[in-house]
């Protein structure tokens, strides 16, 4: 599947900002056979006084830029073409949950994809007895790490209510879990907490999702937002398996990865510090257009 992806993140300031410095993480990754980045362009308005393109620790492409002239807002635009293929899940390679701890104890790889980075509690995914107990209650003897991932993801989808207004970007995962509602970010943090709680390394993924317009309707431009889901490490052979708890399914060719992190804080689409007074308003528009489907 080939996609053209367009993203606009625009922030308007109530008062002019003297200077601003931002890091954005919005470009689809090039992940090999499953996801190829054919072309990608990221532009910033107003003109930047400094721009530095690099990859972060986890290999995510980020762009750091500064605007040192007074400005009323920032607009970041991405245009990217991606080839995405669904990769088969190697379910028979997943290790039994009971032996995962032993495997990890002997693991010495410290590279960016190492499961070791994704086992500890983080600021947004604290160890939480309630979530761990929820996960544990779903386990059955003989389950593999993959079985556990699927059953937990499915159960969360069943018990959680998607509510775009109930939480904010800063709602703690335990609170969203207690109230059983939230958006993709909450679903993902909760699932990560559940998995880490039972010893399965789990990462936060930010990315884009192809959405299907309602039957008979045309796809609305810019109606989508960025998405988030979960990766679980299911053993040395099975490796990482992506699961989308908001939609209760293993990720497929509809999911386009932007970044991997321990939680949202590692990979926010835009992180910025500006000097100036007053508040700001932000909006985001995303189009994921299968090529050949241009309206």
């Amino acid at each position: 599947m080939i996609y053209d992806i367009r993203l606009t993140i625009a922030t308007d300031y109530a008062a002019s900002a003297a200077t601003g410095r931002h890091v954005v993480c919005v470009m689809p990754r090039d992940l090999g056979p499953g996801q190829r980045l054919i072309a990608g362009l990221l532009s910033v308005d107003p003109a930047t006084t400094l721009r530095h393109d690099r990859t972060d620790f986890f290999g995510n492409p980020v762009v750091e830029f500064a605007v040192d002239t007074p400005h009323q807002g920032i607009a970041v635009q991405v245009q990217a073409r991606v080839v995405r293929a669904a990769m088969p899940v190697a379910s028979h390679d997943a290790v039994p949950l009971d032996s995962l701890r032993g495997v990890l104890a002997g693991w010495r790889d410290m590279g960016p994809d190492s499961p070791l980075h994704f086992t500890a509690a983080t600021a947004r995914v604290p160890r939480d007895a309630a979530m761990t107990a929820f996960a544990r209650s779903l386990l059955r003897p003989g389950m593999t790490a993959l079985d556990a991932t699927l059953v937990i993801g499915h159960a969360l989808h069943g018990t959680m209510r998607f509510d775009a207004t109930a939480t904010t970007v800063d709602t703690p995962a335990p609170e969203a879990f207690a109230k059983r509602h939230g958006v993709c970010q909450d679903f993902s943090h909760i699932m990560i907490a559940c998995l880490r709680g039972i010893g399965v390394p789990a990462a936060y993924v930010s990315g884009y999702l192809r959405t299907q317009p309602p039957p008979g309707k045309r796809r609305l431009e810019g109606a989508d937002a960025m998405h988030a889901w979960v990766r679980a490490w299911c053993g040395p052979q099975a490796g990482w398996v992506d699961f989308d708890p908001t939609n209760d399914r293993t990720c497929d060719a509809s999911h386009i990865t932007v970044a991997h992190g321990r939680d949202y804080d590692d990979v926010p689409p835009i992180r910025g510090i500006l000097r100036g007074a007053g508040g700001q308003r932000s909006r985001q528009a995303v189009d994921v257009i299968p090529v050949g489907d241009h309206a």
Binding site: E64, W107, T119
Partner: protein, 795 residues
């Protein structure tokens, strides 16, 4: 057979504890080398002479305003720094062993940092469990792969040591991230020189000054651009060691900068000053690594500088020490360091560290379980001794701070990989003075190492923490106790540090006054504004309460209330909360610049705030409030006198004065516009004269005839009346002339242009041209100066 020391009486009465090493007395009961002159000196003093000597040390610390603030205590409670006048004496030979061991250790830790932020070979080869790195919050991923400028991660370290019963020294704690205490060591030494003024030369005590000279020179030598600065990076006034940081900054002649003082422009780090951005290349960091750049580390940090890491990555800045070396303080690391030393250098550690076990290993866990009674157990990834944290921990089989477990075993079983254990070491004792005799108390030593061009050098001294009781386990230090000087005593005369040019380096000199950081200027400006605003509000309140009790007409009272309401001060209570808020604005501004504000000034300000707080609960409206506001006005006058009579005329004073003058000019203009308006209430003109404290001069000048013209002339146009607008505009003009004395000709800032325009307007105004509309317009113009001032100096 030992020869009794002269004046051995104090020593004779000294009883050491069984099974414990002692600093004064060796295992055979002999006095250790180096102590004799001190013991002889003390033994020769009468009780009252001793008391006087010790009191001099305490007095010095009190005068110097040495204080210690508990972190997070926003009430800014200050308490004396506990000081024990008896120094700990360490003989040269013993000291040489300590130095050799610590230098080896500092080099090893530098290599470990290099590996953890580079190849990660220690993990790959199995010398260090991966989890201790990958799960470690102090392992800062943005720094992975970033080689520090100059190649070294560590430039300044501290170590806590203890001496075991066998007489050997042990490393208890490595302090690498942002070690504190060098300033305390220096202050303690100065206090001790007050107690024993004549003893130093005679006792061959090493001086500390040379260490600081070398370190200061080393910081300077790390700069590429001579015009750039080396500075100290502080988390700010609320940190518990802020005083110490301000002290060491003054001593070394370095700016004490907060994250907000720094800005990244054109990819380089700068300090924002009133003379524009000045490049910074070297930062002695007293801020924890995680907080230093909100763009790449903790995004919720308000202490850091966005973009700082980018300048480090680009090789423009040297951090002392490198960001991320907090990982070296990880408690469980000590379990692996002996092996790592062998792996990296092929040598054993000269100084052992306290025996440590990571509970993630099966054999280690079994050992810890068997010997839990002689262990302290705490978080593997903690960076402090278990007893120094609020985390769940165990001391000798007693579990502390857990609401889920009631004993050690199940806790250990559930959390083993997250825990480590340390041997519960027994510390040595040192003599402290108690009721005319010497008694043994446990102690640990803090030693400092700094890197120079030729490698590490140790501060020949440091300080000792002294436990409060006779309990000699390391845990006794948790209760704080006292701090004592440490004397390193040579076998012969010691070299005297000299201010003459050093053969191997540049001469030590204090830097000439550097351009004032914009944040400090801003705080001084607001201190001036809030202090004056407090006084203005007090005058309005006094007038309101005075007239209310006299039964003055409602319109006039309303006019006063309206002026107060302009600053959100209500007249419902005698001492309104709005007034207190203004007062606290002044306290808050001053607390940010303690390194630039006198001890007396601070005391006067906080005294006024405390009095006001007390009056809020006791004062009644009416006559009582008139008396209370009078008391507060006199305190305000005292404060104002201190700042204007005693403050050195630096750029800082200029900003304080600008704030004061701008506030008074604006408030007077608003008041005059209201009270001299054609529709003002009866009595408004007299009220204006009273609030402006100009009753007597008005009577002398104009007899008893009060008219709009006399009021405008005296309170707006008179260049000799400090209460008049014109006087304050003249003041502003004088200050802006001072501040821009060395600016290029023809490059006038909008601020200067605004001040000059206003001042000229008032110089040519008459009582006729300065009508109500002109007063309103002038008030707006004065308040707008705040904006142009910001643009000119404070951005």
């Amino acid at each position: 057979m030992a020869v009794p020391a002269p004046g051995a009486s104090l020593f004779d009465g000294y009883c050491t504890l069984p099974g414990v090493a002692d600093e004064l007395c060796d295992a055979q009961g002999r006095m250790r080398p180096g102590w004799a002159p001190l013991i002889a000196h003390l033994s020769g003093l009468s009780p009252s002479q001793t008391a006087q000597a010790f009191a001099r040390g305490d007095q010095h610390l009190t005068d110097a305003g040495v204080y210690f603030r508990k972190y997070g205590d926003r009430t800014a409670a200050t308490r004396d720094w506990p000081y024990s006048p008896m120094p700990v004496v360490i003989a040269q030979a013993d000291w040489d062993t300590i130095c050799a061991g610590l230098i080896q250790r500092a080099d090893l830790l530098d290599q470990v940092a290099s590996d953890l932020y580079g190849a990660n070979q220690l993990v790959a080869d199995g010398h260090l469990p991966a989890q201790l790195v990958a799960s470690n919050p102090e392992w800062l991923r943005p720094m992975v792969g970033v080689t520090p400028r100059g190649g070294h991660y560590l430039h300044f370290c501290a170590f806590d040591l203890g001496r075991g019963p066998d007489g050997r020294w042990w490393v208890l704690q490595d302090l690498t991230d942002a070690p504190s205490g060098a300033g305390f060591a220096l202050e303690t030494r100065i206090a001790t020189t007050q107690v024993f003024p004549d003893l130093f030369a005679q006792a061959n005590v090493h001086r500390l000054a040379g260490f600081f000279q070398q370190f200061r020179a080393a910081l300077g030598a790390m700069k590429d651009d001579p015009a750039s600065r080396a500075a100290i990076l502080t988390p700010g006034a609320l940190t518990d060691t802020y005083y110490e940081q301000a002290y060491i900054a003054r001593y070394l002649g370095l700016s004490l900068l907060e994250g907000g003082d720094l800005t990244v422009t054109d990819g380089r780090l700068h300090v924002r000053t009133i003379k524009g951005p000045i490049p910074v290349e070297v930062l002695w960091r007293r801020m924890d690594g995680n907080w230093s750049d909100p763009l790449e580390l903790r995004g919720d940090s308000r202490l850091g500088t966005p973009g700082l890491i980018a300048t480090i990555r680009a090789g423009h800045v040297t951090m002392v020490n490198a960001l991320g070396v907090g990982v070296l303080e990880t408690q469980a690391l000590m379990a692996f360091l002996p092996r790592i030393s062998q792996a990296l250098t092929g040598t054993d550690l000269i100084l052992p560290n306290v025996a440590t076990w990571w509970c993630g290993g099966a054999a280690e866990l079994a050992h810890v379980r068997r010997h839990a009674a002689r262990m302290m157990i705490g978080p593997a990834l903690g960076t402090r001794m278990p007893y120094d944290t609020t985390d769940t921990h165990a001391i000798g089989s007693t579990l502390i701070g857990s609401d889920r477990y009631d004993s050690v075993d199940p806790w250990l079983a559930d959390h083993a990989p997250d825990l480590m254990a340390k041997e519960l070491v027994t510390l040595s004792t040192t003599p402290v003075w108690s009721d005319g005799a010497l008694v043994p108390r446990p102690m640990t030593l803090r030693v400092f190492l700094a890197r120079g061009p030729q490698g590490w050098h140790a501060m020949p001294g440091g300080f000792a923490r002294i436990g409060t009781g006779a309990d000699t386990s390391a845990v006794s230090m948790r209760r704080g106790g006292a701090v004592a000087d440490v004397w390193i005593v040579a076998d012969g005369p010691v070299p005297m540090p000299s201010l003459l040019p050093h053969a191997s380096g540049e001469p030590f000199q204090r830097a000439s006054p550097e351009a004032l950081p914009s944040r400090a200027a801003d705080n001084l400006f607001w201190l001036g504004r809030y202090a004056e605003r407090t006084e203005g509000q007090l005058r309005l309140l006094r007038a309101w309460h005075g007239r209310r009790s006299e039964g003055t007409s409602a319109p006039l009272l309303d006019a006063i209330a309206a002026s107060l309401a302009w600053h959100d001060v209500r007249t419902g209570r005698a001492i309104p909360q709005g007034l207190r808020r203004t007062m606290q604005g002044a306290v808050q501004a001053a607390s940010q610049i303690r390194d630039r504000f006198s001890v007396d000034g601070w005391a006067a300000l906080t005294d006024m705030d405390h009095t006001m707080a007390l009056m809020q609960t006791t004062t009644q409206p009416g006559a009582d409030a008139v008396l209370a506001t009078g008391v507060l006005l006199r305190k305000a006058a005292g404060l104002s006198g201190l700042t204007h009579d005693n403050m050195y005329r630096t750029a800082g004073w200029q900003f304080l004065t600008i704030g004061h003058a701008l506030e008074r000019a604006a408030a007077t203009l608003v008041l005059l516009a209201r009270l001299t308006a054609p529709d003002a209430a009866d009595g408004a003109l007299d009220l204006a004269i009273e609030i402006a404290d100009s009753v007597i001069i008005h009577r002398q000048r104009y007899a008893n005839v009060t008219s709009r013209d006399t009021v405008i002339d005296l309170l707006a146009l008179d260049p000799l009346n400090p209460r008049a607008v014109r006087f304050q505009l003249d003041m502003l003009l004088a200050r802006v002339t001072d501040l821009t004395a060395d600016a290029p000709i023809g490059q006038m800032t909008d601020f200067e242009r605004g001040v000059r325009t206003l001042q000229t307007a008032f110089a040519v105004h008459t009582v006729t041209t300065l009508d109500t509309a002109a007063l309103h317009a002038a008030a707006r113009d004065v308040l707008d100066l705040s904006v142009t001032l910001n643009a000119a100096f404070l951005h």
